[in-house]
C-alpha cells in the first residue's frame, strides 16, 4: 500500500508543493477566474495574460492539498511562453492522462513534470484536485480570447 502511496505522492509533486512555481497574482491580465472544488473546498484564483496568441503569464493564488497545489505549479511551467493553441493541446493531453484511470502512458516530451501525476489518475477522489487549476486556466484563457475577439470586432 505504501508503494501505491508513493506512486501518488511522487517526489516531483512534493517538490512543487513545497516550492510552487509562478505563485501569486500578477498584472497585467485579461481575465481572472475563481474555481472551487465544492466537495473539499479547494480554491484557486487564476489570471491569464495573453499577447499575440501567446500565453505571456499565468498567475494564481490557491489553497488546497499537495496535489492541487503542485498541479497549479506544473501547469504554469508548461503553458507560460507557449502559443495558446499548443498550450490548449497540452491541456488536452493532461486531461486525458487524468481521466485515463491510470491506463494512459504519459508523454514526458509533452507533459514534463506533469507525468508525475500519472499515479493520481488511479485515485478517483483526487483527480479533481489535479484538474482544478487546469480547468480554471482553460476557462480564463477562453474568456481572455473572447474578450480579445470582442475588442477586434
Amino acid at each position: 500500500m505504501s508503494a501505491e502511496l508513493d506512486n501518488l505522492y511522487q517526489e516531483i509533486i512534493l517538490d512543487h508543493y513545497k516550492n510552487p512555481h509562478h505563485k501569486g497574482l500578477r498584472d497585467p491580465f485579461e481575465s481572472e477566474v475563481h474555481h472551487v472544488n465544492p466537495t473539499c473546498g479547494d480554491e484557486v484564483t487564476l489570471r491569464v495574460h495573453l499577447a499575440d496568441g501567446v500565453v505571456e503569464d499565468v498567475s494564481y493564488d490557491s489553497v488546497g492539498c499537495s496535489i492541487s497545489q503542485a498541479s497549479a505549479s506544473v501547469l504554469t511551467d508548461l503553458v507560460i511562453g507557449k502559443p495558446v493553441d499548443q498550450a490548449m493541446s497540452i491541456h488536452q493531453t493532461f486531461l486525458e492522462l487524468m481521466q485515463g484511470k491510470g491506463e494512459v502512458e504519459p508523454d514526458e516530451y509533452v507533459l514534463e513534470d506533469g507525468i508525475a501525476f500519472a499515479g493520481v489518475a488511479k485515485f478517483p477522489a483526487r483527480v479533481k484536485c489535479a484538474l482544478l487549476s487546469w480547468m480554471a486556466w482553460k476557462d480564463a484563457t477562453t474568456q481572455a480570447q473572447a474578450e480579445d475577439e470582442g475588442a477586434i470586432s
Binding site: M1, E4, L5, C40, G41, D42, G64, C65
Partner: protein, 411 residues
C-alpha cells in the same frame, strides 16, 4: 477504560463490515461515523427479509403482502416514535433524509417581510441554505448566533437576535464539525418566550444522545436514518401534532390527500400529509430496526462510550506535534466528532495517507463552510467514532498521524 461499552467485542461482531480488510490486507479502522454509520447485521437482515418475503406497496395494496408491508412500515413509525419519546405516532413523518425534513419546514412555515429566522454559525449547510432560500422567497430576515473561540455558541447577544419578530429558531443539537453540544433547553426556552417555532437538527445527536422530544420541549426535530445504524434514503421529521396539521402540504401526490377533484383537493392529516407518493418502505423498516437496536444497547451507555473514546482521542491527538483541535477540548461537552488541523499537511493529504493504512476519516469542510471560515480554516480532518469504536482504533489513528508527519517531512 471507564465508560466503554462492556460488550464492545460482541457489539463489533454485529457489524459485518468491521471484519473486512482493505487493499494490502489492512484491517478497516472506520472513524467516519459522523458521515455515515455502519450497519448491524440485524438491520441488513430485516431489510433483506422484507424484500424477500413481504414486499408490496403500502396502504393501497388490497392483499396479504400489502397488509404485511403496511404493518412493517407503520411499525417502523411506532419504533421511531418510541425512540424520540413522541407523544403520538402521528408526529413522525418519514422523509428522504434530514435535509429534506429541514427543507420541508423551510418551505411550509409561513414567513413574510418583517419576520426573522435565527440560525447559528455552526450549522450544517442543510440548516443554512434551506433558510436562506426561505428568507429570499419571503422577504424575512436571516440572523445567526456567532461562535466563541472555543467553539461554543456566543449567546451574549441572544436577546437582540431572538426578538418578538423571530418566527423560527433553528439550530443543531450537536455540531458535526466542532462536536459542540448546544444548550437545547435554553435555546428552546428563548424561542418559546418570543413565540417563535424551535427547530432542532438532531442528525448528530440522535446517534449518541437520548433524544426525548418532550424533555427538549421543541416544536420540530429532524434526524437522518443512516447515521443511527439505519440505511440511507430515510430521514425523520418530528413535529408537534397540532403544528404539523397547521402546515400546508409540501409535495403533492398520492397518499397525502383526503379527496381529489379536478378543481381542488383536500389533504390528509399528519403524517400522511407530508408523505406523498410511495415512500422508502424498506428503508423505513430498516430504520425502525436500527433505532430498536440502539435502544436495546441503551443510548446512555452509547453516550458514555462515545465520551470515553472521545476523551481518549483528544488525549492521543495532543501527543502529535502540530495538531490543533477545533471545538471544546472537554469530552464531557462534546459529541464523538473531532475536527483538527495538522501543521504543514493538508487534510486531503492526511486522509490519503491514513487511508493507505486502513484508517478512514473525512477531510474537507464537512458541509459546514461558515464554521470553518469562523476559525479561519479552509478545511479540516475529522475523526468520528461510534458505539463500535475501540481505543486500539484511536491508537491506529494517532500512529497514522505520526507517520503522516514523517511522510510529508514535517518538523
Amino acid at each position: 477504560m471507564k465508560g466503554l461499552l462492556p460488550d464492545l467485542e460482541v457489539i463489533r461482531k454485529d457489524f459485518p463490515i468491521l471484519e473486512r480488510t482493505l487493499a494490502g490486507g489492512q484491517p478497516l479502522v472506520y472513524l467516519d461515523s459522523a458521515n455515515t454509520s455502519q450497519k448491524p447485521q440485524v438491520v441488513i437482515d430485516t431489510m433483506v427479509d422484507h424484500l424477500e418475503r413481504h414486499n408490496a406497496n403500502i396502504a393501497r395494496a388490497m392483499h396479504q403482502l400489502g397488509a404485511e408491508s403496511t404493518e412493517a412500515y407503520e411499525g417502523a413509525r411506532d419504533r421511531v416514535a418510541a425512540f424520540l419519546n413522541a407523544p403520538s405516532r402521528n408526529e413522525v413523518v418519514f422523509t428522504k433524509n434530514a435535509t429534506e425534513a429541514l427543507n420541508l419546514l423551510a418551505r411550509t412555515i409561513d414567513l413574510g417581510p418583517g419576520d426573522n429566522v435565527v440560525i447559528t454559525e455552526m450549522e450544517h449547510h442543510s440548516n443554512i441554505v434551506s433558510w436562506q432560500l426561505a428568507c429570499e422567497r419571503s422577504g424575512a430576515e436571516l440572523r445567526w448566533f456567532g461562535l466563541t473561540d472555543d467553539g461554543r455558541l456566543d449567546l451574549s447577544n441572544a436577546d437582540q437576535l431572538v426578538d418578538e419578530h423571530t418566527k423560527v429558531l433553528a439550530f443543531t443539537w450537536v455540531s458535526n464539525m466542532l462536536g459542540t453540544i448546544n444548550p437545547v433547553t435554553d435555546l428552546v426556552a428563548r424561542a418559546k418566550a418570543v413565540g417563535a417555532l424551535s427547530v432542532i437538527d438532531a442528525s448528530q445527536a440522535a446517534p449518541q444522545l437520548t433524544v426525548d422530544v418532550q424533555a427538549a420541549g421543541c416544536d420540530f426535530l429532524v434526524f437522518t436514518g443512516h447515521k443511527v445504524c439505519g440505511p440511507t434514503g430515510i430521514g425523520v421529521l418530528w413535529g408537534r401534532e397540532e403544528l404539523l396539521n397547521e402546515l400546508p402540504p409540501f409535495h403533492g401526490g398520492g397518499e397525502m390527500i383526503e379527496t381529489v377533484t379536478m378543481a381542488r383537493s383536500t389533504y390528509a392529516r399528519a403524517p400522511h400529509r407530508f408523505e406523498a407518493g410511495t415512500p422508502p418502505i424498506v428503508e423505513a423498516v430498516g430504520l425502525g430496526c436500527a433505532v430498536d437496536y440502539l435502544g436495546h444497547i441503551g443510548l446512555d451507555a452509547i453516550h458514555a462510550h462515545e465520551q470515553a473514546i472521545t476523551a481518549y482521542a483528544l488525549e492521543g491527538l495532543q501527543t502529535v506535534p502540530g495538531v490543533k483541535v477545533l471545538g471544546p477540548l472537554d469530552a464531557a461537552e462534546r459529541g464523538g466528532a473531532i475536527s483538527f488541523e495538522l501543521d504543514g499537511v493538508h487534510p486531503h493529504d492526511i486522509a490519503q495517507v491514513l487511508d493507505s493504512r486502513g484508517v478512514a476519516v473525512r477531510a474537507g469542510h464537512h458541509c459546514a463552510k461558515p464554521a470553518h471560515a469562523r476559525f479561519g480554516v479552509q478545511s479540516t480532518t475529522r475523526m468520528s467514532s461510534y458505539l463500535y469504536t475501540t481505543p486500539a482504533e484511536i491508537d491506529a489513528l494517532v500512529e497514522g498521524l505520526h507517520h503522516t508527519r514523517s511522510y510529508f517531512k514535517v518538523g
